[in-house]
């Protein structure tokens, strides 16, 4: 309940944050604080310096950008879950992200937690990661040597581990505007205690003329990183994506080393993954 001592510095720009990060050993970036502060209260994290990036200008909000490969939505790293959930742009063009954000914790948590902090922490039971994958998102990072982008699929490396370098920070997430005839859905089996995802399934299904042209399904909570259901998606693409096809396709979903805790065993999580993959794919299809 009582964090250990630390020094507090406030960064007013990305550059200042990066400079502070390079100056202080054992420093932690603080955005909304909803991953870091709980760990600090239990003294599971004891950074010597906390760099508050919560007030950096320009890192908040969702903007639509036109590009050569089609339009995208630029989501600033400091955009809160509540803002994601309420964003008209996201609800229209990448609804799976708005839906996943709305499924996070509770109203108070959503008011403070940020997308950047969430994905940098990479909790496997969090709601956003699979949704970002299903939406085809790219993560924008900035470090001392400049900016780079990483597809969400390569960003989540392992349990609580991402591709983010020690000297980098997440500046935002870029999501393509969903195509015509594409439906998306996020469905979650909530842990009755923590409210995190025991399993959270994010699906996107594109339909044209009664045929599924593309599908994707990713799941939170099952493994250390979002479970990739492309084997399932492959069995659906090119079909009418009817219930029978989806029901049969999810059999292809296999979870290597599923997570297990007191509440849900690995075997059960793997089972739920199939159930929720099925339900999310159907919901996405119905919205396509």
């Amino acid at each position: 309940m009582y964090p250990a001592k630390f020094d507090y510095v406030r960064a007013h720009s990305i550059e200042e944050a990066l400079q502070l990060l390079s100056q202080h050993e054992d420093a932690k970036l603080l955005a909304g604080g909803h991953s870091l502060i709980p760990m600090m209260k239990l003294r599971l994290a004891q950074p010597t310096t906390v760099i508050d990036i919560g007030r950096i200008d320009g890192l908040r909000g969702v903007r639509r950008i036109s590009g050569d490969d089609g339009d995208t939505l630029q989501i600033g790293a400091l955009t809160t879950h509540a803002e994601l959930a309420a964003s008209a742009e996201l609800r229209e063009h990448a609804p799976v992200i708005a839906e996943a954000a709305a499924a996070i914790g509770d109203a108070q948590v959503r008011h403070r937690g940020t997308i950047g902090g969430n994905i940098a922490h990479a909790d496997p039971a969090s709601d956003l990661p699979a949704a970002l994958l299903a939406a085809g998102a790219t993560v924008h990072l900035q470090g001392p040597s400049g900016t780079r982008t990483v597809p969400a699929s390569a960003f989540f490396v392992d349990l609580l581990t991402t591709d983010l370098g020690m000297d980098e920070l997440v500046t935002g997430v870029e999501v393509p505007v969903r195509g015509e005839g594409t439906g998306q859905a996020y469905l979650k089996f909530e842990h009755p205690a923590s409210g995190y995802a025991v399993v959270g399934a994010a699906a996107a299904v594109s339909m044209r003329g009664g045929e599924c042209t593309a599908a994707s399904i990713y799941l939170n909570g099952v493994c250390a990183t979002p479970l990739d259901g492309s084997a399932v998606a492959a069995k659906i693409a090119g079909t009418a994506a009817d219930d029978a096809t989806i029901n049969a396709a999810v059999a292809a979903l296999t979870a290597e080393d599923p997570l297990a805790d007191v509440y849900a065993s690995g075997e059960y999580r793997a089972h739920l993954a199939k159930v929720y993959a099925k339900r999310a794919l159907k919901a996405a299809r119905d919205r396509a």
């Binding site: 964090p3 009755p192 205690a193 923590s194 849900a264 065993s265 059960y268």
Partner: protein
């Protein structure tokens, strides 16, 4: 505000609580106050080889670091006592600070006091304890089967071996039975989880040799008594215990904890007030837990479905030490309730209480009675299936008949009153039983669909604890009466000093209603004082659904005495005889001459002026009562739960919950319903979500809200409540008590419902909590 008995007036407690002005223990700040942090064992079982406090002492802001050595040096007895003894009970010592051995995670070994709480925590981290870990046990049955010995005094880790009923007669009933059903079950261990963590502020006055302790307690006088007798050793008149606002208890704030005296030690050593407030982790590791039984139970029935015998074998987890009332919970509050609402001619129960390397277990909302009800109602569900009679008919055939009261059970209780069938009828009507059964049959045609389950629970509880002589003969080290001092002021307003100590139950409203009703006053003319040993004469506190039945009865008795005396004063003033005085609506009148009357305040003023006064009467108008009930009270009810189980995930959704309770007369229906609601949620929580888990080293795996699932608002339905009224025949208010009803009744109602939903899969039993995975696995078998 008029507050007649039976009216649902708003609570007088609330204006402070809805504006943030309520003062809980941690809200209090005394001049010069320091903050304590307690250093606790991270091991479930370990020998202490040494404690190094040097670094902690040198930490910024630290005023003192204390260990068991300081307890002895300060001359404190330093032992946590047990308040209920059983024959041949093993009572191993429980020092407030461990020096040789720790016996559960959270056992206290040292305390650090600093200027502020962050500093205290910093320094606590610097106390180095050298532990030699020992093998540990957590299961109440396995601990007796060759586990590491925990206390030298208790071979095989057995604290007591207790039985009730007639074994031979019961065995004979089973030998002759037409049907038998049996079940092996656990009653899951629960964390009480009052949202306010425990807290203590001790303020030692060296000049007077006295100490004032503000703390989170349900029974300040009992805390003072136990501290004076065993842990603190001060004379009782030198200790003041005060309960400020208390943020829920559910049993966990009845018990005397080591921490309370540890904080006193700090204040004595440093001569300054010291506050300790548990963190959530700390309070979950050390607040006495509830339940934790392993049970084998069997029911014998004749051809017609009439019960002929009940046999129960239970291992009850006491945890690492015997907490305050722990030995009573799985014995006299459990074994005696095994007859339920039923006429059972032969019962035998055998209970073994055992030590494990876990947090002590003690009374938690319902205390023994939920465990008994769970056993009986699970068996009734199974008997309904085995006999083909179904859940309603099997119960009807076995109810104690309304003309059989007072009914003497085979397990030492005499039910004073009851009428069980009307409550069942009403519950069936409210839930819409026939339509549900039809819907259930329809769903069962397709096992992939979510299935409907309907669960029954017909419970009885013995509450209104309790006739002192009875509990004394059973081992209680305290009486169980309650006191009330009702003081009428010269101007006619009233202050009530009650030994019942409210922590959410609304005593200040309910008790004022009793007085206002009987004296013809407005509720605002009655003040209720509780929770302070310096103000209140003595009190046993609030637990066991006893406040209205025992505390309220004490007030009613005092009011009767006051009416009696005031009639004599009025008679004198009206020049009539006392027998001819009627008192109603705050007015004294002479029988037959209504024009001859006096108002309430005319008489109360005269009681204090005593200018024109009966010769044989003392001035003043107050009355103290120590009300000792002649029997327990026996609330009962009929609950029906309806669930929908998704066989694909195992998830359970509550569709309906109907509770028809009979708690006797009702003083404030709004408060009574609130008590039922809260109890239901706790029982539903036990059935579906709550439950501790320990690993092989007896580490608690569910110590925080990340893993321990309290019932949440979005997982619960609106409840449908109704009441039947069978007044208690032996107390002046006809009330029985309602605090625990919901928590007692609901676990079997929910579990029976889920198992009813799983009937197509032939599942006979699942242990609580019915987490989705467990239910899903049952559909895979």
């Amino acid at each position: 505000m008029s507050g007649k008995i039976g009216s649902a007036i708003k609570r007088r407690e609330d204006p402070a609580l809805i504006t943030g002005r309520g003062r809980y223990t941690d809200d209090l700040k005394l001049p010069g106050m320091l903050h304590a942090a307690i250093v606790r064992s991270p091991h479930a079982h370990a020998r202490i080889r040494g404690i190094d406090i040097a670094a902690a002492k040198a930490s910024p802001g630290v005023h003192g670091v204390f260990t068991a050595e300081d307890v002895n040096a300060a001359g404190l007895p330093g032992m946590v006592p047990v308040g209920w003894l059983l024959p041949e009970l093993k009572t191993p010592p429980h020092p407030i600070l461990a020096s040789e051995k720790v016996n559960h995670v959270g056992d206290a070994v040292a305390v650090v006091v600093a200027d502020e709480r962050y500093q205290a925590r910093d320094a606590a981290d610097l106390v180095e304890v050298d532990y030699e870990p020992l093998p540990a046990s957590s299961n109440p049955k396995k601990t007796t089967e060759g586990a590491q010995q925990i206390h030298d005094e208790a071979p095989n880790n057995i604290a007591f071996d207790w039985e009730i009923g007639d074994r031979a007669k019961t065995d004979a009933a089973f030998a002759a039975a037409a049907h038998t059903v049996e079940v092996d079950l656990t009653n899951n261990r629960l964390i009480p989880f009052a949202i306010e963590p425990r807290a203590v502020i001790a303020d030692y006055d060296g000049d007077r040799g006295a100490i004032t302790v503000h703390m989170t307690t349900q029974n300040p006088h009992v805390h003072r008594l136990l501290m004076c007798l065993a842990s603190l050793g001060f004379p009782e008149h030198k200790v003041r215990v005060v309960a400020p606002e208390v943020g829920g208890g559910f049993g966990s704030k009845i018990h005397h904890y080591a921490d309370e005296t540890i904080v006193c030690l700090c204040s004595i050593k440093l001569g300054r007030p010291v506050k300790w407030t548990a963190t959530r982790t700390e309070t979950n590791l050390t607040d006495a837990h509830g339940r934790d039984h392993v049970t084998h139970a069997e029911l014998a029935l004749d051809e017609g479905g009439k019960i002929t015998g009940l046999r129960v074998e239970t291992w009850a987890n006491m945890g690492a030490y015997l907490s305050t009332f722990a030995p009573a919970v799985p014995t006299y509050l459990y074994g005696t309730l095994l007859s339920g609402q039923y006429d059972i001619p032969a019962i035998h129960a055998h209970v073994v209480g055992t030590f494990t390397n876990t947090c002590p277990v003690d009374a938690y909302r319902g205390a023994g009675r939920p465990e008994a009800t769970f056993v009986v109602e699970r068996l009734m569900h199974l008997a309904g299936e085995a006999t083909g009679l179904g859940p309603a008919e099997i119960r009807r055939r076995n109810f104690v008949r309304p003309d059989a009261f007072p009914y003497e059970t085979q397990v030492a209780l005499t039910y004073d009153s009851g009428n069980y069938e009307p409550a069942l009828d009403r519950a069936l009507e409210l839930v819409g039983y026939d339509a549900l059964v039809a819907e259930q049959a329809e769903r069962r045609k397709d096992r992939t669909r979510p299935q409907i389950g309907i669960g029954f629970s017909n419970f009885i509880e013995a509450c209104g604890l309790a006739p002192s002589a009875v509990v004394g003969s059973l081992g209680a080290q305290a009486g169980q009466w309650e006191s009330a001092d009702v003081r009428v002021h010269p101007t006619g307003t009233v202050t009530v000093y009650t030994g019942s100590s409210s922590h959410g139950q609304g005593h200040e409203t309910t008790f004022a209603q009793i007085v206002a009703d009987k004296l013809g006053l407005e509720v605002d003319q009655v003040e209720v004082v509780h929770g302070d040993t310096d103000k209140v004469q003595f009190g046993m506190g609030t637990y066991g659904s006893r406040s209205a039945a025992v505390g309220g009865s004490a007030i009613a008795r005092s009011v009767e005495k006051i009416v009696e005396k005031s009639k004599r004063i009025a008679a004198h003033l009206l020049e009539a005889s006392a027998e001819d005085i009627d008192f109603a609506g705050g007015k004294f009148t002479v029988k037959g001459s209504p024009e001859s009357s006096l108002g309430w305040a005319d008489v109360t003023l005269q009681a204090y002026l005593a200018h024109n006064y009966p010769d044989d009467l003392e001035p003043g108008l107050s009355a103290t009562t120590f009300y000792d009930p002649s029997n327990f009270t026996y609330p009962f009810g009929s609950h029906i739960c309806v669930v929908e189980v998704d066989p694909e995930t195992g998830n359970t959704r509550l569709l309906q919950y109907v509770a028809v309770d009979d708690v006797g007369n009702v003083i404030n229906p709004m408060i009574v319903e609130g008590q039922v609601h809260g109890g239901l949620a706790q029982g539903i929580g036990q059935a579906l979500w709550e439950g501790t888990a320990y690993d092989e080293q007896a580490q608690l795996l569910t110590g925080s809200l990340m893993d321990y699932a309290l019932p949440k608002i979005h997982n619960l339905p609106m409840y449908t409540l109704d009441r039947t009224v069978t007044p208690c025949p032996h107390n002046p208010l006809g009330v029985k008590g309602v605090g625990e009803a919901g928590a007692i009744a609901s676990p079997p109602a929910v579990v029976n419902a889920v198992l009813d939903a799983l009937q197509p899969w032939g599942v006979r039993h699942l242990d609580m909590p019915l987490h989705a995975e467990k239910v899903w696995r049952a559909t895979q078998a």
